[in-house]
């Protein structure tokens, strides 16, 4: 049976001992110190720091502390991580080596471009690959994450209609099955969000769309395949409805792993797309980032992309360009460069054929798991059960909840006890007791079988020994957590400083 490490590890502050230091910087030398002394006397005392309440520890203590913490953290390296919509595939080791090369780590983004031709060429090549994989005309590699790319995409819609119609349009349409970032990004970009319903067959309601699309509608944000794992089969008609109205179609690339190398969003008629390189293109997620969310657009939208745009001159030299119509910079510099290097390394190691194989293998794995899971007692498959899912699927544990009082939450927690990361639960919101599984292509059939076996066992436990499931997890570093206390205004403790003050 699985057992995660548990260390009763004090916090850094609690390990602190006066005088200890883990890294001791050298002084600047006598002459510099003398110069410093004289300049320092010009700073009023009240502007200088008195207290600096940082902990004091030696290097071995710091290393041991973080090593112990790492042992209390589930990861792809530790085990199967079928978290739906997150594409937790294996992160190749060579990508880490590439990202830590001196020429990556040590190159300053504001050096003259004649001295950074290598970095610029790498970005140029990556952009070229992404264009070919998506069918888009141009990419900005600047956005730091998927949601950041969405914001950029929505700002492009805003700029496009302002340019053509004198002012931006008012609304963006988002299906009820969308990731939360979609409505949040649209709203952040100044749009009203209009939600359209998903039909019984799992596709967006075309009739509702037809009624909604008017001169106020800037566009729609679609995830295709959708978050229930189904391909939007009427995509052609959806595109027609929007394009007739000069509204734009935004492709949320979170689910790109289902179709990379097989189908291209650009061919389907999408105008704007973001890709999550930390999903489809295997860059590690780092416990919540850094990721990268490049944004691709069709030709007519290319002038609105944020700077910097990298172009290749007639002499073969790479340069940086800014378009006067650009929405403006979305962040500093060239994006999360070290992440972009990893994605490029991954693309090279896969090639077009390898990426296609990754997508189809991920889809096979997902449908295989679904074929077995849907036969388990208490499990049902909402939305067009006869259609194949893509890289992920969502089943409902509503029946299980009804029969045993236990549902997606408890089953997910209990799966942790068997050494598997939990799936995404209660998302999408339109599925009751949603249980969303995304296996990816990097797990072996044996691993999938082990998961399926554990799942069947957990469901069996729900009927036969519900208490063990209700009180799960038991084998993780800690048991169930008091979330209410964590966020209660009287007990909220977001830092050591607040803790100290409260304890007194």
């Amino acid at each position: 049976m699985y057992r995660q490490a548990f260390w009763e590890e004090p916090l850094l502050y609690e390990r602190s001992k006066p005088g200890a230091v883990g890294y001791n910087p050298a002084g600047a030398g006598v002459d510099a110190e003398r110069a410093g002394e004289s300049w320092l006397s010009k700073i009023p005392k009240k502007l200088l720091r008195t207290e600096l309440p940082l902990p004091e520890l030696s290097e071995p203590e710091v290393v041991r502390h973080f090593t112990r913490l790492s042992q209390m953290n589930f990861s792809i390296s530790t085990g199967f991580y079928p978290l739906g919509s997150c594409t937790m595939k294996y992160n190749p080791a060579v990508n880490e080596v590439a990202a830590s090369l001196d020429q990556v780590a040590g190159t300053h983004p504001l050096q003259p471009t004649e001295t950074t031709q290598g970095c610029l060429e790498l970005l140029y090549n990556l952009e070229d690959c992404l264009k070919k994989l998506t069918g888009m005309a141009a990419f900005s590699l600047a956005p730091a994450a998927g949601a950041h790319g969405e914001l950029v995409g929505c700002l492009i819609m805003r700029a496009y209609h302002r340019d053509r119609e004198g002012r931006p349009r008012k609304k963006i349409i988002v299906p009820d099955s969308a990731h939360g970032t979609n409505p949040a990004s649209a709203s952040m970009a100044g749009f009203e969000v209009e939600v359209v319903k998903t039909r019984q067959d799992g596709c967006v309601d075309i009739e509702a769309l037809r009624k909604t699309v008017d001169g106020d509608v800037a566009g729609i944000m679609l995830t295709n395949p959708s978050t229930v794992g189904l391909f939007e089969k009427d995509i052609e008609e959806v595109v027609r409805i929007f394009h007739q109205n000069d509204s734009l179609l935004y492709y949320d690339g979170a689910n790109m792993n289902a179709i990379v190398g097989v189908v291209r969003p650009g061919d389907m008629g999408f105008d704007i797309i973001h890709l999550n390189l930390h999903k489809t293109f295997s860059t590690p997620h780092g416990g919540g980032g850094p990721g990268a969310g490049p944004v691709g657009v069709v030709e007519k939208l290319a002038p609105y992309l944020p700077p910097p745009r990298i172009v290749k001159g007639a002499d073969g030299k790479f340069m940086v360009e800014n378009s006067p119509k650009s929405i403006g910079p979305a962040k500093m510099f060239f994006g999360n460069f070290a992440v972009l290097v990893r994605a490029y390394a991954y693309i090279l190691s896969m090639g077009g054929a390898g990426l296609r194989k990754a997508a189809t293998s991920a889809v096979v794995a997902s449908n295989y798991m679904l074929a077995k899971i849907r036969r388990v007692r208490g499990v049902s498959l909402p939305y067009d059960p006869e259609r194949p899912r893509k890289h992920e699927f969502v089943v409902s544990l509503a029946k299980l909840r009804k029969e045993t009082g236990l549902g997606a939450l408890e089953v997910a927690k209990r799966m942790l006890d068997y050494g598997f990361h939990a799936p995404t639960i209660y998302f999408p919101l339109i599925v009751e007791e949603a249980f969303m599984v995304e296996p990816t292509e990097t797990e072996s059939k044996e691993e999938l079988d082990k998961y399926l076996e554990a799942f069947a066992k957990v469901v069996e436990e729900c009927y036969s020994s519900p208490e063990v499931v209700r009180s799960a997890p038991h084998n993780t570093a800690v048991g169930r957590i008091n979330e209410a206390k964590a966020s209660h205004p009287l007990t909220l403790t977001p830092t050591w400083r607040v803790y100290r003050r409260r304890v007194g």
């Binding site: 883990g22 910087p25 309440p53 292509e441 957590i481």
Partner: protein
Amino acid sequence: MVGKLGVANPPYISHHSEDDIKEMLREIGVGDVLDLYRDIPEKYILKSPPDIEGPLSEQEVYEKIVSILSRNTAGLKVFVGGGVWPHYIPAAVKQIVSRSEFLTSYTPYQPEASQGMLTALFEFQSLAADLYGVDVVNSSMYDWSTAVGEAFRMAMRHTGRRKVVYAAFCGPERVRVAQTYVEPLGGTLIRTPMDSKGRVEMERLKHVVDGETAAVYIENPTYLGSIVENVEEAGEVAHDAGALYIVGCEPTSLGLLKPPGEYGADIVVGEGQPLGLPVSFGGPLLGILGCNLDRRLLHNMPGRLVGMTETLKDGKRAFTMVLRAREQDIRREKATSNICTNQALCAVAAAAYLSLLGKNGLRKLARHIFDKTAYFIDRLSRIDGVVAPLVDAPHYMEFAYRSKRVEPDRLLQVFLEKGYVAGLRLGNRFPELGDGLLTCVTEIHSIKDIEGYASVMERLA
């Protein structure tokens, strides 16, 4: 395309045996992999995969990337900051963030299985909060510039006002990013002047800050490295008008300077890259955003926050994400921000860095950088024809100077020929100062490097 070493099958697909695939397809009840794509209109299915390079073997991938990057100019002495700064990174920091348990985990949605990351993020929040002198710092934004953009939006939501006044020597590129962020809210950004000593001109500030002002934003040290004398007074003007006071600081400077939380800042922002992250051609970086434990302000805060709590059964200390109701996956279009994936691993690096240096190490580092800056300024100012610094104030890590005889572009060119990136051209970004170069010096630049730089300058000026 098959790589020259003849690699046909990418190694990262685990169930690649044909038997496995066949068996899985049989279980599904289809004959071919592409049957699973039968609901996609056929015209969209690519007949063959897109024509991109690969698959290459691991060795070829490595060699190709090394070969591309070799087109960078190696061995330059780079005296450039401007938003990211070259620093020495203690070896233990790299070791800690290379732990694949941190590296390859997702956002800690299952706290029971993710205590490691949650504890490390709590420690980052705690260390950064102590460094900036506020109660709370969130678990990261993308970079300083987006933190500024989010801070402005936060202030606009908090006050219901739309005008932000910022001091003249704030980073112009950061202000431009913030402009992108506030434009949809109808926000306007107004630049208020600083004097020749790098102080906020108080009369002008009082004149421009009014009942429509959501926030006053100042950077200390400024983008030009100058230390601002009247930071406290500027905050008072903001507060008198019911506006928030937002202060941006480079974090190592806070080993020497009073933290913004102690001179009235309501929101603090900064760039965490100097805390253990390489410059990496500009990313990944680490946006810092914090405030005090004011309930309304905190509920307006963007981004992820980790808090201390306990286990339900045995009351053991434990950590989990808190105030989740502000976030996009719960609040959707009403969320405080759309941010989801952030820069978590960079925050772990910063936590490791700050705990290694601790109180004494950080004080020493800050003093080292201040001393080198002072030395460099003095050294250049002694050269006939050089005006250094352009702002008459003590500086930290960066300063602007000008040669009276040689144009900035020419200076940069000559320096580059000698193997130096001498600085950034100011251009017309600071009309009150005129043109010149912004130069950066940290602990990685030796006295010999500085002398080398100065001797090139001596020959030129």
